[in-house]
């Protein structure tokens, strides 16, 4: 059974008061659940949240399924998102993604064999002037080269 930590529950309760409607707290609550559930939101998390927030499960699923930042499947410790939209594509973003797959032992284009990394090719992240770039969990890394990107990822704890 999934349950939020005490601190997590308090956070959700506060968010439920923070906005005009309780429903607006679904996004922040899902972020919290994702964080505490190892990077993804399982169906069981949705049931739990629905009870905690006293909101219908369909409302939570509607949000979960609409937004790309919620992972509906398990992800690695580091979720590496490489921008492959136009300005990054023009500056080697796609080749960077390919290179990372090779270097990090990501054979299916998605997860590394050791479960440390999940790679996604994503749309514009608003760093087009510092292309190519990647987002690793919350953080942006810009003006990358193939070498610097690999080094950054390998040096993460």
């Amino acid at each position: 059974m999934f349950e939020l930590s005490k601190e997590g529950v308090e956070f959700v309760k506060k968010e439920m008061q923070r906005y005009e409607t309780k429903r607006s707290a679904i996004i922040p609550a899902l972020y919290k659940v994702q964080e505490e559930n190892g990077g993804w939101v399982s169906p069981e998390c949705v049931t739990y949240l629905s009870q905690l927030m006293d909101l219908p499960e369909v409302w939570i699923n509607e949000v979960l399924n609409f937004y790309t930042m919620f992972n509906k499947e398990p992800v690695g410790k580091y979720h590496v998102q490489v921008c492959c939209n136009v300005s990054c594509a023009m500056n080697g973003g796609r080749e960077l993604a390919d290179h990372l797959c090779k270097e990090l032992n990501i054979k299916d284009g998605r997860h590394s064999e050791d479960g440390r990394y999940t790679l996604s090719r994503v749309e514009c992240l608003g760093s087009c002037g510092t292309a190519p770039m990647m987002q690793v969990n919350d953080k942006y890394y810009e003006n990358l080269t193939k070498e610097s990107a690999v080094q950054i990822l390998k040096e993460l704890p």
């Binding site: 005009e20 937004y67 136009v86 760093s127 087009c128």
Partner: protein
């Protein structure tokens, strides 16, 4: 030369904090504004001719004037969803000058008599989110937010909201649905948000840069604001330049500034040996300009409209001759297909078809009639959907195949890109 009005103090790291911001005159304009009548401020914004910086260029003062006088509470919402490919100015503004945005929002909120505002920031912008959240707290602590602000009797509360990854949430009605905790699907307009917006209450949605510009207008007055720019495009604007220039980045210039000066002077031009091939002047939704068009374009709403493109969000994507236009269109079409919310048949099906057709040309499996098909499909996607995403996909598609037709034809005939030969022969 850049003309730094909005970005004048952006090079100072301390400008991010309340103390630093105040050192350079921060919140003085708010004091001035609170001594004016709200309708005076609306009139000044109208007179200044400020046009929305989020993409559509709609006159801000006019939009504010659409609010009904029915005694209902009004909301102000700042659109910081910034998802238009090529755009990265709002992120910089929030990171460098969160208090400028807050002051602009406070003045705007006072002008439209709103007691509550939200800044809706795209989910990926965690760093700007933290910075803005902290700045709001600082503003509360200093008495710029809350009850009876600076003894004026005006109350205002402000908060941030974090999105969760969806380009379509940049569309204002989708943004408001998202803010209500729902999926971000656009709604048919009218009713416009000014009449029925957040929680069905009158709501003004404005872009980050638009709201920050309000500070300048009230500070200097509309006449001074109009010193820069053109009659129909007054003021300065921040352009996000990316792609194949030597010095990409954000540049603030007066509207009406020559595009070629932006590329060759401010951004250092292209890599040695490269030739300009094309420019997308206003984010990926804007029809592409040929090099020849780009050489004579000026960066204002009217010139780019005349060239059948648009200023959009001010994202200038510079394309040199090492790029294959089939490849770039494929990337762009994939994006719109991925981001269509799927409510409207022409958009859902059309973006899917465009993605597929251009993709098959790219794979060398295209037929000559597919090029025409791109145009046909695109034409059926325009002007018949709930929001403008469908048009935003169709317009660039048409412009790419019309303006670079021979390159598309070569690709179809030979099953490969012409560009490699161009480079080899250079």
């Amino acid at each position: 030369m850049e003309v730094k009005v909005l970005t004048k103090h952006y090079d100072k790291p301390e400008y991010r904090s309340l103390e630093g911001y105040k050192k350079y005159g921060g919140y003085e304009v708010l004091k001035k504004a609170l001594g004016m009548k709200p309708e005076e401020i609306v009139a000044q914004v109208k007179e200044a001719g400020l046009r929305g910086r989020g993409g559509a260029g709609f006159p801000t003062g006019v939009k504010w004037g659409f609010l009904p006088n029915n005694g209902e509470p009004r909301y102000l919402v700042c659109n910081a969803d910034e998802g238009e490919p090529g755009t990265f100015k709002d992120r910089m503004m929030m990171e460098k000058a969160p208090h400028q945005l807050i002051e602009g929002m406070l003045i705007s909120a006072y002008a439209i008599q709103s007691k509550k505002s939200y800044i809706y920031i795209r989910g990926e912008y965690m760093e700007p989110y933290r910075i803005v959240e902290k700045a709001i707290q600082e503003a509360y602590d200093a008495g710029f937010l809350g009850k009876n602000i600076l003894g004026s009797g005006f109350d205002h509360d402000m908060d941030v909201y974090r999105g969760a990854g969806a380009y379509i949430c940049g569309e204002e009605t989708a943004l408001l649905s998202s803010l209500e905790g729902k999926k971000g699907q656009p709604k048919l307009k009218p009713p416009f948000p000014a009449v029925e917006g957040y929680l069905r209450k009158p709501t003004i949605v404005n872009n980050v840069e638009t709201l920050a510009a309000v500070v300048t207008i009230v500070k200097d007055g509309p006449k001074e604001y109009r010193k820069y720019g053109t009659e129909k495009s007054p003021g300065t604007k921040i352009f996000s330049v990316s792609g194949n220039v030597l010095k990409p980045g954000n540049y603030e210039v007066p509207l009406g500034y020559p595009l070629k000066d932006l590329i060759y002077n401010l951004c250092g031009g292209l890599k040695p040996g490269r030739q300009l091939k094309a420019v997308i002047p206003g984010g990926s939704s804007a029809p592409v300009l040929t090099a020849e068009e780009a050489e004579r374009a000026t960066l204002d709403y009217e010139c780019l409209a005349e060239m059948k493109s648009m200023l959009g969000s001010g994202a200038v994507i510079v394309i040199d001759d090492s790029n294959c236009m089939v490849d770039l269109l494929k990337v762009i079409m994939h994006f719109y297909h991925h981001e269509s919310c799927g409510q409207c048949t022409p958009c859902r099906e059309g973006t899917g078809w465009l993605d597929k057709i251009v993709g098959s040309i790219y794979k060398g499996e295209g037929r000559l009639q597919d090029i025409q098909l791109v145009e046909q499909v695109s034409k059926h996607m325009m002007g018949r959907t709930i929001c403008a995403l469908s048009d935003a996909a169709a317009m660039p598609a048409i412009s790419f195949v019309q303006k670079f037709r021979s390159e598309f034809e070569f690709y179809v005939r030979e099953g490969r890109s012409k560009v490699k030969e161009v480079i080899a022969n250079a």
